[in-house]
Each structure stands twice: as C-alpha cells, then as structure tokens.
Symmetry: C2
C-alpha cells in the first residue's frame, strides 16, 4: 500500500497527485512529525519552533514537513486538529451525562479539567495564536463553536427549569469555561522558578491539590450559575 499526500481534514493538496490508497507504512513519519511538532509548538510557540527543530526532534529528514504536510503552517493545523479532536469528544460525552442541567454543566467543567490535565500542552497550543492576536485556527474554532452551541442550549434549558439564574447563555458559557482554562494556564504559568512566595502554598504537582482545584472550580461555577438570590451591595448580613 502506498502513497498519499496531505490527507487530514483540510486538503490543500499542493504537491503530488493522490493515488487514493490505504495508509502507507511511511505514515510513521507523519506521526513522528506531529508528535515532535506538538511538543515543540507547545513549549516554544509557533514562530519559536523551526522546521529544523521539528524534524530533528522526530529523527526524520528536513524535507519531511514539506513533503507530508506541504508547509509548516499546515503541520501546525494538523497538530491542532489532533489536539482538539479528543477534547471535542470528551465535551460531547459530558453533555450527555447526568440528570439536571447543573449536573451536566458541572460534568463539563470536570471533563475540561481532566482533558487538560491529561494533555497539559493543550491550553498552550490553543491559546497561543489567540494570544498573539490572530483569529483562532480553524480546528479550534470548530470545536469551540460546537461546544458553545451545545452548552448554551443546556444552559437555556436550565433557565427554563428555574435551576440556572437569568443571563445570556453565551456569557454564562464563557464564565463556565474560564474556570478550567484559566486555572490550567495558571497551573503552569505560576510554576515560578525560585518560587514566588505568594503561591508557594500550593503544590501544583500534588494529585490531591489538583483534585481540590477541580472541586473548587466546579463549586465556583455551580454557585455562579445557580438561581439563588444574593444580597447586592451593602455590608454583611
């Protein structure tokens, strides 16, 4: 079985013709490239990662990126697609669990946390381009779009049932998502060398601490969503 070129989701098909066939053994090179690129893009950023570093890390020839993906950019998108796929699946799974709307949303937060814990590089890969001012890459936008639609619907239903407070479902979705994303980011960002004293209280690598962080975020989100009267302004009760 031989031969293919630039399969993946998007199909620019720059170079040779595709002799539609099964995946060749050489697909190994593709996988090696994606693995190496994922690691480097996450730790050094897109612009900070050279094709030479990627191919060297993968133990393949310099020309492999051009051959298998057509360009550095296309490889980057392939990495993002690979990264977003399990996230999207996990989110979809979380939205089908549980009984009440609030439970479903709590499951979403948990799913996000666990996904980001198993793939610590994920928030970096996703936020990188966004933080650099560019629009989110296609694979990211796609999964985020699907997620937002599904979550907003659950939120709207919860509002009808009276379990979730009034408010724009999309804004509530953003507030929800902010918890796992921001905290996973902080988890790595605040691993300061020399240990800044103001965060030395937390040992981010301790599994128990991580679990308590998840529970904290779930509780925070749950309270933030709940339809509960809260006294505004003023002082103490």
């Amino acid at each position: 079985m031989c031969a293919q070129r630039i399969p993946e989701t998007e199909s620019p098909g720059p170079m040779t013709m595709v002799a539609a066939g099964t995946t060749p053994a050489a697909t190994d090179t593709r996988e090696l490239l994606i693995t190496s690129a994922r690691r480097l893009f996450a730790t050094r950023g897109y612009d900070g990662t050279s094709i030479r570093a990627i191919t060297a890390g993968a133990g393949v020839n310099l020309g492999a990126v051009t051959y298998h993906f057509g360009s550095k950019r296309a490889l980057y998108e392939a990495v993002l697609a690979r990264v977003m796929e399990p996230l999207g699946q996990r989110i979809a799974g979380a939205m089908e669990t549980g009984s009440s709307s609030l439970d479903r949303l709590a499951a979403l937060v948990r799913a996000f946390f666990h996904q980001l814990r198993e793939n610590p590089d994920q928030p970096f890969l996703i936020l990188q381009e966004i933080a650099a001012g560019k629009p989110p890459p296609k694979p990211v936008a796609r999964v985020m779009g699907r997620t937002a639609a599904a979550v907003a619907e659950v939120i709207a239903r919860g509002q009808e049932e009276g379990a979730i407070r009034a408010g724009d479902p999309f804004l509530l979705f953003l507030s929800l998502l902010s918890q796992p994303v921001y905290m996973s980011l902080a988890r790595h960002a605040f691993r300061a060398p020399g240990g800044a004293d103001w965060m030395s209280v937390l040992d981010w690598d301790d599994a128990a601490v991580q679990e308590s962080m998840v529970e904290h975020a779930v509780l925070f989100a749950r309270q933030g969503l709940a339809a509960i009267p809260i006294q505004e302004g003023g002082g103490e009760p």
Copy 2:
C-alpha cells in the same frame, strides 16, 4: 564615538546622567519605540515582530532599539513594565474602596475589566509568553504577585467575617481573575471573520453589551464567592 547606556532595569533614569532636569529631546525616540513595539508585540507576538518592523513603525533608525534598550528582549520587558504599571495601580486602588470584602472584590473585577477595555492589547501582551510555555516575564510576575497577596488577604478576611465561602484564598483569587481575563480574551478571539453563527448574538463592540458583560462577570464572581448554601444536585463530595 558612541556612548553606552542601557539602563538595564527600567527604574533608573533613561540614560547617562544628563545635566539635571534637561531631558534630551531624543528621549522621544524611546517613547516612539515603546509605542510602536507595544502595538506590534500585541498584534503579532514577540517572535512575529522584527526590530525592523518596530523601528519602521516608529519612524526611527534601525539601530535605535539596540542603542536605547540594548536588545529586542529588553525593549519587550520595557513594554511590559509600561503596560503593567497602570494595571497594578488600578488594582491597588480597587482594593481600598468599598465597604465589605465582597464589594472590594467586585470592585477588583470591575477595575480589571475597565483596565482591559481601555487597553485591549493588554491581555495579549501578558498572556503571550505564558501561552508560549515560558515563565511570565518579570514585570508581569511582580504585579501579579502583589495582586494575589492583596486579594488573598481580602478574601481571607471576608471568610473570617462569614461573607465569603470557605476555600483556598488563592484558588478563589484565580477564579475571580479568570472572569475579566478570559472574557476580555474571548472578546477579541471570537471576533471571527465571517461571523461564526454561534456567537453572532453578541455585538462585542456595543458599549451596552460590554457593560452587561462586566455586570455579568461581577455577578458570577459575587455568587461564586458568596457564602451561600447551595443545594447539591447530583453527585457532589
């Protein structure tokens, strides 16, 4: 013959000991560079911005960056310091206002929002390096450290008073901060070209929408912090 300067840390005077009080008109170049660099770093990222682009944007000579800052990196840190300074001041101000702890923290969220609205480039500049896997630059870490300490103290006091629910003050601080940061990021990230249908509901540029976003986040944070009994829905520890 050239002279050396490079203040290294941003605190001392711009350059050599100039005759007291007389700022050489050439300090303009420094400001022009910082302004141009800030804009470009925010919209293109550090690696994506060349010294040539910065100097061209500032209308000054190519060598100006090396002369006034010593290196591209030093200019970047100067930009960050410039950016973080008003943020830190605004935060400090917010923490001194209001009566109750909850109000103080609500003021903090509001202050963050308004700061980020007036400086839309700020989250990009701050998150860029973090998202690229590097530790947060010095000026960022400094302000964040001060903020975390102050906020955690207010939270701890609120907990003693019974106004704020139990929980790690630092985690609560992160949940609090996540609201303005994440939403300001989303505000720009989701300005999708072609308008993704799932977010077309929001017109991010509408001032009223922005204000409602702030109020939403404040309410979400307030509810999330509040010491309020919440009925546990399904399986919660």
